[in-house]
């Protein structure tokens, strides 16, 4: 992919992820601890699978900068640690899949991402609050991570074939030139 094309695509996806996250925060969900389905992680997973680890990590961190602008420093710290940990774990998961079977299990990928996003946030919260009693939230957050990961993984499973079809149609003719990179 050309560099400008890459930057433009990543920019659009970053905007999409930030907008989804913001929209999600507008919907009041009556769950404890501010548990959210994490719709924006669908975008992050798409970037991770098709554009690589560095692109996904960059997007996750920049998305947290958006959180910093709208919700403040401690929310930023929690968001960035959750984001980095979940992208790192999903990358390990993805590498393991590529090495072993060559076929990525989307549900496993998104569930591990969801669970470790929550664990990263919990770790950040423990550091900010200066207390390790936060560990007692672990069962709730793991449950929430599994459920939200299952949700986002299912959505990704549904939209991936459609996205691929669109992307193939759009880049037909262009893609032959780009094979060398």
């Amino acid at each position: 992919m050309k560099k400008t094309q890459y930057i433009a695509k990543l920019g659009i996806l970053l905007a999409l992820a930030s907008a989804l996250q913001f929209l999600e925060s507008l919907i009041p969900i009556p769950l404890p601890l501010g548990v959210k389905p994490g719709i924006s992680s669908i975008v992050i997973m798409y970037i991770l699978i098709f554009m690589g680890f560095r692109a996904a990590l960059t997007t996750a961190v920049l998305k947290s900068v958006f959180v910093f602008a709208t919700r403040g420093a401690s929310a930023f710290f929690m968001s960035v640690s959750g984001g980095i940990l979940s992208v790192a774990v999903m990358e390990i998961c993805l590498l393991a899949y590529r090495r072993n079977s060559g076929s990525t299990g989307l549900l496993m990928l998104s569930v591990s991402g969801g669970v470790f996003h929550n664990i990263g946030q919990l770790a950040a919260a423990s550091i900010v609050a200066g207390s390790f009693y936060t560990i007692s939230y672990l069962p709730v957050l793991v449950t929430a991570g599994v459920v939200s990961g299952a949700f986002t993984g299912t959505v990704l499973r549904i939209i991936l074939p459609r996205l691929k079809k669109r992307a193939d149609a759009l880049t037909k003719g262009v893609i032959i030139k780009d094979e060398e990179t």
């Binding site: 501010g34 919700r71 990525t104 496993m108 009693y133 449950t143 993984g153």
Partner: protein, 127 residues
């Protein structure tokens, strides 16, 4: 780039996910079966306050500006807080031993303790 292969979930993956979920739910159930606590230990930054859950009412501390704690029916909640996300307020009342409320922006933790494990046994009423 579009040669990426993927599937939804194999049987083994579903089994692993189900096991993790089952473990988490089991921990949740075990945790909700603990006894009632007798004290609330409130940490505001470096200072620690202890409140007896027998004393109903509203409480404020100098170290936690604008945060109101409320004790009712041997349970405590954070009634209001100036923080942004209000997760601490939405946690609601807690009263079981080991439960806690954490407000990350205000650096406040509330933990329920049972006085059997504390040395401050002077407050215990017989019966």
């Amino acid at each position: 780039m579009n040669k990426e292969k993927y599937h939804y979930a194999s049987r083994i993956e579903i089994l692993i996910i189900a096991l993790v979920l089952a473990a988490a739910l089991l921990m949740l159930i075990l945790r909700s079966c603990t006894d009632n606590g007798s004290h609330a230990v409130i940490r505001c930054g470096d200072t620690v306050h202890t409140l007896n859950l027998e004393n109903s009412g509203e409480f404020r501390f100098n170290e936690a500006d604008g945060v109101v704690f409320r004790i009712e029916n041997k349970k405590i909640c954070i009634l209001s807080s100036p923080c942004h996300d209000k997760i601490c307020v939405n946690t609601g009342y807690i009263g079981n031993n080991g439960q806690n409320i954490i407000c990350v922006p205000e650096k406040i933790t509330v933990t329920i303790k049972n006085s059997k494990h504390n040395n401050s046994s002077a407050d215990i009423a017989v019966g």
